[in-house]
Subunit: 340 residues, 4 copies
């Protein structure tokens, strides 16, 4: 039996640890072979695969990135279902472990519905997949964002400035919430809870009046209340004029002009998704990897591995791809007590 | 209303974040005052306390250690219950938040039974308190141990040596298990699962034969099967002769002589319990702090805060101090697949 | 005798270590007192000063930022020389240690020429002061930039992307050069050595053709050959139109369109100048601090401390503020061998 | 032309960066080929070598350890000069770059005197080679020791304990001196400057009386004045009885009993010599590598590369192996002002 593994979508610390976990358990317990499918679904559609013996995964638990490469391709490109079946047949691959985010898992679901033997492993740095408590990469992203806040705070305090730190989180604010609490920020702005520019300035002034250099963490997907149409992501605005940078760079000059406090923005961007995973992410990713090969042996096609409490289980891919896990109101309220 | 806070027992990353969380929420939501009780129960028994205004806790989420100091005292020393009551009365302290491990919480339980208003916050780097899923400090300890293993591995591989890394864990092996998986160790030796020297050497040889430099993680409380009486912790052995170092230093020469592979030991010791907490520990500690002041306001005397899944709840201190949380057999077996 | 200390200009890791070094040696060896002048020359012009006893500087060697605050003020504002003399007289300050960059030191020079007792300590993260081999903060900036490159590389490789990393260096490329070598970049673009867009694309393609994800480090002050007028720093361009971001963000789309390789930019910005200093910067800053108090006691007014080889010496402030230390051609050529 | 490279002696961060620097410049500028000689002089004596194309060294600047392996062998074992010549001839190796410490370089010197084409690259974590200002690995060791002191300090302060931190430095105290200053220690004990136990206790008490938790850094080769014969390194003492641990573990109980202050020791050991090199060590090691291949092309047999100020030069191996670089008295005195 030979199992193909692929990583798809954005880079995420822990991808290699999943691969390693699956290969070691598959080799040691089930005696199966592995093929590395290169660059996600591109490699599947083109039959671009390499042998993946145990020797190839050694030492991978602490290596960032993915040795298999990744892309944002669709497996149905270049020939649809027939092509997929042919490529699997030609490469003697009996089943696929697809590691990726919502788009990847949706495609995996479709393939499973089409009779392909596929199980999923969820990957979302933003922690926005409802069907699992956590996924690998999130802890590392929070750690990097927090370390950056620690660092920026000293400069903010030396200059009596306000600092706006933009972190990842297009639809949900888990990273902003956690890094905000851990870094002792004076506000965290989440996509789930739009607040007005005036409210933000109240928080900034409150911290400033206590003698602090205000630190505001903002998720990239946040839009201030009452101005959803005006502030937009990088690119063209509604009025066709070019916008500067992300939400952090948009907020900084507004805060400065409204409060009179010098304000600077920093966008962490790709720094949050690369590099060596935290110990916790390595353990979780490894456990996902060993659980994924179990799921394959149990023929749980169309399912993905998931963390519930301390247990790894499997859930239907359908559940994993339909609902977004938002920050609940009470957690946000609780965090709000620490702000301002 | 004035609430006393104390930290007791061994140092642990996150203590200051608990203090900060409690004081900010108490100040902001409940309008209560705080007293810092110095050096744990010593300060309680001697009435050694300082005012703890909000200003005093600013920036504390990322500071290691405890600003209140700690000790291993017993509150009933120096005058028993009457003295405790008198000190609280003299300092106008209405309730106590006691942050500490098993011994601290047992004393808190006894005080609660004696009518003192006390709630607990569990602190155990080893993660051995059954009544809570996790406590702060554990994630930091695993992170430091893992980082050390990463570092030691390069030397081991350059010299083709076996490296024995001793981590904390007197009664349970959670740190050894997690750091072992995260660091890609070839074996983790836990107090819960004694194995023989011969088994250890089999693992060492297996890794060595695959061309690897064997890395063995061992919890300080591990004793090899069949030799429980012979290898002992630092100090006098059964035969009255002085023993060298911890279990790691005891194992290294035995492994070297039995396998012929040069073997070195490193004991991480206090490095695991000091310094800046991880982002995750800061968040958990902060949540414990805000939950502890809630528990005080709800008069949950004799209870402690605890983490169940993602929720913070309270449990009876009795439950917290009677049962040890060991690594379960199936987790150990699962990890074993990655070893050797 | 009482000596005023001030920090002026941009934040820089090691400022607190200089203050601590000066105060400890002044207290211990010379028995002098210190005043902390707040927010650089603003505090001098306004007489805003605090006592700075030894107790106040304890533990400061590893604390980022400056406990004295900083600003970009001019001491001659608000009343000129007479005001400066009056403020010093009123606060009983006999001499000043001014820690800062070119602007700060120029003002110190002018004050010294006007008869004020002042010695300087050079501060330049960019390492562009000719009169000293190194200053504190530079090593930390290179360390952070290098760590970021390590992190970004894994993402670049997973996605087969080109990554452009913009680091500090307005006039000189020391950070870009060192971080580029340490991070194993495929090119470092320095203000001193303009190269054409075509040359950059040759390097990118060369790395790409060897199967690598090209990593390009660019100093903020770099301008590509033949386009000096077109690419400009953030703000209005020559044509009055708004420009996007820094040089990194300008280069990325050009490289992508010319090479066909997906290219992303990251601007490290303020991350490079805050936070805990490296061990090396702490030692150098501490030595500067103890040397500065020696210079005061030796009445070396109008001079600053400087590092020559392993020796701390003093040089005339005139020399320190007239010449920029650029990266020499041969170092650049030597580094070029590692690129492409 | 084919050049053999070998790494010999203890592991040291930066070894791989030297190898990479030499191979890239050799490949790119001189068009020469490389052989990797495995496990230092063992591989030379046994002819155990592998091809070392440019592709093999990619990404190596930030990888700890040595891809070539290391050992403490002597090239003259197994057949003497004739064997060495034969192995070089059989493997078509024309010259050797030998990277190592005093023993390695002495053997290289002997080979050069015997007509073998060999140049050296100094490697000494302790920074004790007189003929060069610095070598790679030292900065990383100081960084790790300093980070550990930062971490241990919080525990010491929480418990009001004295902490003794043993760092590397068998004959010289450079690491202890620098880490002591950077970490804000209250004393650094160096092999070059023996002080009495009573003096150490004076420093401990002085810091304690100022309300600090005393932190003492001690180099492994330090011996207290008047007790040189009594305290010995790990192993058998003069009286034939087993000794506990290193000098740190020997000092701790003595300090505790003399001062009455609870005292703990931590020995950093191998943690200081493995893992990812600092940015500075990577740059220095890379420059050594490119300079070493230049030295080969210039036929500087019997010489080694060295750092003088900011310049890389070459010096006769004879000079490099005869004199130890000790910490000078004035630096020690200057540091002493910061202690106590």
């Amino acid at each position: 039996m030979k199992i193909g593994i692929l990583t798809s979508g954005g880079d995420c610390p822990g991808l290699n640890a999943v691969i390693r976990g699956a290969v070691i358990k598959g080799d040691q317990i089930y005696g199966v072979k592995f093929a590395g499918i290169l660059d996600g679904y591109r490699g599947l559609a083109e039959g671009d695969m390499i042998p993946l013996p145990r020797k190839r995964v050694r030492g991978l638990s602490f290596v960032g990135g993915t040795i298999l490469g990744t892309s944002r391709s669709n497996p149905y490109e270049r020939g649809g279902l027939e092509n997929i079946k042919e490529q699997l047949h030609d490469n003697e691959v009996d089943a696929i472990i697809a590691i990726g985010g919502e788009g990847t898992l949706s495609a995996a679901k479709r393939m499973a519905d089409d009779g392909i033997h596929v199980v999923g492993v969820p990957k979302t740095i933003d922690n926005d997949v409802a069907a699992t408590d956590y996924t690998f990469g999130f802890d590392t992203a929070v750690a990097i964002a927090t370390e950056s806040i620690d660092r920026l705070r000293t400069t903010a305090e030396s200059h009596h400035r306000c600092m706006v730190v933009e972190v990842m989180g297009r639809h949900v604010g888990w990273i902003a919430l956690n890094a905000g609490i851990a870094g002792g920020a004076h506000a965290s702005l989440l996509p789930e809870f739009p607040v007005s520019i005036d409210q933000i300035c109240i928080w900034v002034n409150k911290a400033h009046n206590r003698g602090r250099a205000p630190v505001i963490v903002v998720a990239e997907g946040f839009a201030p209340l009452g101005q959803e149409g005006e502030t937009t992501s990088r690119g063209m605005g509604n009025d066709g004029r070019l916008r500067l940078g992300g939400i952090g760079e948009q907020l900084a000059p507004i805060i400065e002009s409204k409060t009179g406090i010098e304000t600077r923005a920093v966008q962490l961007g790709h720094l949050q998704r690369g590099g060596v995973p935290t110990a916790r992410d390595r353990v979780l990713a490894t456990r996902y990897g060993t659980a994924a090969i179990d799921a394959v042996m149990e023929e749980k096609w169309g399912h993905m591995v998931a963390l519930h409490g301390e247990e790894i289980t499997t859930v239907d891919l359908h559940d994993a791809t339909t609902e977004l896990k938002s920050v609940p109101r009470d957690l946000w309220d609780e965090a709000g007590i620490l702000f301002g």
